[in-house]
Symmetry: C3
Subunit: 441 residues, 3 copies
């Protein structure tokens, strides 16, 4: 009957997803360094994970793997020796990837290194400087305004040295060598929606798929944004060719409506599957055309790869005020919202797994459903759509139409079309056309 | 000049159509039996008809031809011997296809065999039980409420025995062996819109086509719904392959707007012809996408046939309250409404007959219409559209565009485009490209 | 970097365009005769022009070149010998192409030869009689009402004799033998929008293109409407085959919104270029589907040629009250409006010239823009669209997408996409795919 997730189990995952996000929240992640390793370590407690280290300086297409950044402490002390900006209170206080510094300076010297959001005076911004060596502090605008003239001791106890870039892969083999990719970035420090939401949902989905009989093989990538995706693609060109469907997961914990951004191809099966699932989801959602900005779909959809990889979000990055600020915290992502996101991902996986072609064994006229007790259902409000689903499946199972084609044309949820096909198959009215995915040996 | 119906004749058919429906109304039809034969007998008085009998038990694809049902009388008598439900008052009172019964029973025993419409307490429902042997009565809800406890004599003097299924065909040969199919069901008892309207309009159209010089051959099927279409297709697989365009006619007498339901193909010439004719009809109309429920288009459009057969209706079955009740009577179908339906069918036939390709004999630049007196028309309000029609026909007659293609692109009624083409042809400006339909020998 | 017009120069052309229209306005043009020659003479003072004479009677496709018409004077004198209708006051007073006449007649005899616009009692209509030999006068309805019974002397000192049809061509060679055509008619007397606007804009565009390094060759036709286009096409069938893009220019001086009427093909590059330019123009505009009426696109788009020639207008002919009346004068066309039209034509030419294909030299993942200082622009409000333009060009430069394809998909003005491509090319990130137009040898 193919992959069907237990809706009861899915409904109960919200709290677990949020707990996992809570564990991950304090870690100071960046594109390299121990924050990434600790994060992968927590994921590894839940799913099988292979961890890779790519040495600093390794050429990856047009780029080179950057230095490894680690940080132990950082603060600004006032003339009384009081920590008035403290890394231990929030790791956002440090400009991510800051070079080490320990000095005393006047406020006027310090100010060019301070970043705030005047419009949101209580929030700390999240800022990075990956490709230009610099140091700096991020603080609330209120904190900045409270700074008095005088001398300040600034300390960033970090290191930026040759080391490596770290990423993790979870691979779940299926009958086919063709793969479904789920990719999320793991390079943001204490930011909950962007992107603990993505990595917790991805981890949970991998847990749910583990041990299932799968049509496709599944690959979950937990990687630093941009450079991680570029490094992975550079090291896995053959594997990339086997990716038939993919999703980048990000911003999946906020309360906004779902957004699916299409792959560069625009009409790939993943695009149609995501659009179909969202169209039949009870809340409104939006499908966006591909554009070459955003998350790592930029790399997967670069012209040399042009993979069928879209991006699933709730609110779109950059459009909500909490984006890249301290307000993107554990209150901003709610258990129920994370659980809904997992459910959408699970539904998309169900469509991909079950989207096969059948052939009607009675193509000439309708078969007599009545004598097989298929004309009436067990009743209830869904009786009509159950019968319609069977008639649509019989009418379009000519070998040309997949179940998703049928669901789209019938405007009936895929799950009902899939159920109808399974029932008709049991009754000898349909035969499965051999799977058209490349087999895995 | 091709087929052109006389609009005056068409306008006067309304009363005749209604009179014919009045003659047919009292007959108790079912999917088999003498009601069908009497109905075909009345049709045969108007058009040449070949009548076929298919024996009970004959396998037709996944089905078998059912027993033949005939009924002479039926009633429920109260303890005073009074017929309180009487088949002679309305043949809808009997559950269609009821097995015979003659018994006396208490009201509580009788009640499971009684069917009403509580929401429409004055109307008798129309119910059938073709594929499960059962007996029953249909009555108004008021009648049901008036029944007192006590003993009732129930009698259904019917027979359900080996016999045959009966259907009729009217075939009008044309120059081509390719056929236009008009199909209507003849299995409903005293119901006027569903489907005396369809069969009277079909009969009238066949009368109008008789004796005309036709491009296509025309086949009119008068068949019991579902099993009749299945039986016909099973016995005429070669003929079915010659059907190039087809329409199922039903619910054509009520006062609702026209609905055309597309064939499964969705872009067949019949779909475009019907959509075009309705678009230029002065009243609003709706074009519906194909779905595998409805009338016999279900069978013609099953994947093994996938014929270019759509369905023309005024109100859609199941959407008007009178549907399958005693209120679908001779008042519900009005002469003018039947005449309009015939006119639409006639216009569609005109499009199919006249939808040919011409080639301009002056393809380079416009020919000089002025010196041929074709630049100005005889004036009046239509002068502008007459000239536009000529310019469109000249511009698009490159061998690639049919007259329907031109009418669609110009958004001008097909009849005007056809007239323009005929005039240009007479003036030596166009030549007909040899008919692309298969010739009939 | 390709063709880029100087926006400053374009902005200053309005007054010059209007001055040129003012010089041309008094000339009494017709489809043949000295009015056309004098008009071409004034054009020739600005751009290189080759002038052709086609003798009366020459067969051109389905037509023959008509007689040559010349006029010296015309009037109606009342019984006091006063010129009450005077050609010297407005050349519109004479029915264009009138045969000569000199007679005295009563008002009742004269009236059938008089044409007015009762709804616009102050305006003189513009009327012609090319293909039926006739004489007549056009006057304001007020003038007509003032005519008293009595005798009138009518004189039209014209000649209609064997001669020739005159037209002019300006040819600007480019790298390719493939041509861009701009065509405008020069057969209307004192009418400013229809069509001094078209011929002044065409002349100005030819001036701007002169001396530029051009990808395509450019051909500007200054021809009498209909018969001129037919004569040109009949005499230049090989040249016509080299026309890859074309525009008919007309009604470009009024204050209405722009209208672009598509070529018969509907999806030609000229159609997409014009639609793109207008979509990004700050004022609203309308794209019209092709129809076989209008200006000389009728001939270029006849099925034997089917050239990719559209028509650019501001207000559509026949839809503004001043059309073909004395109110279509030098006040109706304003310098700024003419300049805007020239700017649209210039932008379309820029798109055609620069619409090439590039191939990304880093197709796998994004190249690192940061280290090339391409990730941030010089700032300002356009920073975001500059970066987006670069990302779009990199993402879609796979050899399949032209710059116009990219501009359309990105919904970014072509000029910005073109700039981005040039910058990326300079930085070694793109290579030009060899031009796909036929080279000129």
């Amino acid at each position: 009957m193919g992959l069907r997730f237990d809706q009861m189990v899915l409904a109960k995952t919200g709290e677990e997803l949020h707990r996992f996000a809570t564990d991950l929240y304090p870690i100071c992640r960046s594109i390299t360094g121990n924050g990434v390793r600790r994060t992968l370590g927590l994921i590894e407690q839940r799913i099988p994970l292979q961890i890779f280290e790519v040495p600093t300086g390794t050429p990856v297409f047009d780029w080179r793997v950057p230095k490894e950044w680690n940080i132990r402490d950082a603060y600004i002390k006032n003339s009384n020796g009081k920590r008035i900006v403290d890394f231990r209170a929030s790791n956002l206080h440090v400009l991510n990837y800051s070079t080490p510094v320990h000095a005393t300076m006047r406020l006027s010297e310090l100010k060019p290194h301070l970043f705030t959001i005047p419009e949101q005076p209580d929030w700390i911004p999240y800022r990075t400087s990956y490709y230009k060596e610099e140091w700096g502090f991020c603080l609330s605008h209120k904190q900045l305004l409270a700074l008095e003239d005088g001398e300040y001791e600034v300390c960033i106890d970090s290191s930026l040295e040759a080391g490596s870039l770290t990423y993790g892969e979870c691979f779940l083999p299926g009958r086919s060598a063709e793969e479904v990719l789920f990719s999320c970035h793991i390079c943001h420090p204490s930011l909950a929606n962007d992107n603990l939401s993505g990595l917790t949902v991805a981890t949970s989905l991998a847990q749910l798929l583990t041990g299932q009989k799968l049509r496709y093989s599944y690959r979950f990538l937990f990687i630093p944004g941009t450079i991680g995706a570029i490094a992975w693609l550079a090291r896995n060109r053959d594997t990339a060719r086997r990716i038939r469907h993919g999703l980048v997961l990000t911003c999946l914990g906020d309360g906004g409506p779902f957004h699916y951004k299409k792959s560069r191809r625009g009409d790939a099966e993943i695009d149609r599957a995501a659009e179909h699932v969202l169209a039949h989801y009870p809340s409104p959602s939006t499908v966006l055309e591909f554009s070459p900005d955003g998350y790592d779909e930029r790399q997967y959809c670069s012209p040399g790869f042009n993979l069928a990889v879209g991006c699933l979000m709730r609110s779109v990055w950059g459009t909500f005020p909490q984006y890249h600020t301290s307000a993107d915290n554990l209150d901003f992502v709610q258990p129920q919202q994370l659980a809904e996101s997992l459910r959408i991902c699970a539904s998309i996986a169900e469509v991909l797994e079950n989207n096969v072609h059948y052939r009607s064994l009675n193509p000439c006229c309708e078969p007599q459903l009545g004598r097989r007790n298929l004309y009436l259902s067990n009743g209830g409000q869904s009786a009509d759509v159950e019968l319609k689903s069977r008639l649509w499946v019989l009418n379009l199972s000519d070998g040309e139409h997949s179940l998703l084609d049928i669901a789209e044309r019938a405007n009936i949820p895929f799950s009902l079309i899939h159920e109808a096909a399974a029932l008709l198959c049991q009754n000898g009215l349909l035969s499965l056309i051999s799977d058209d995915v490349r087999s895995s040996n």
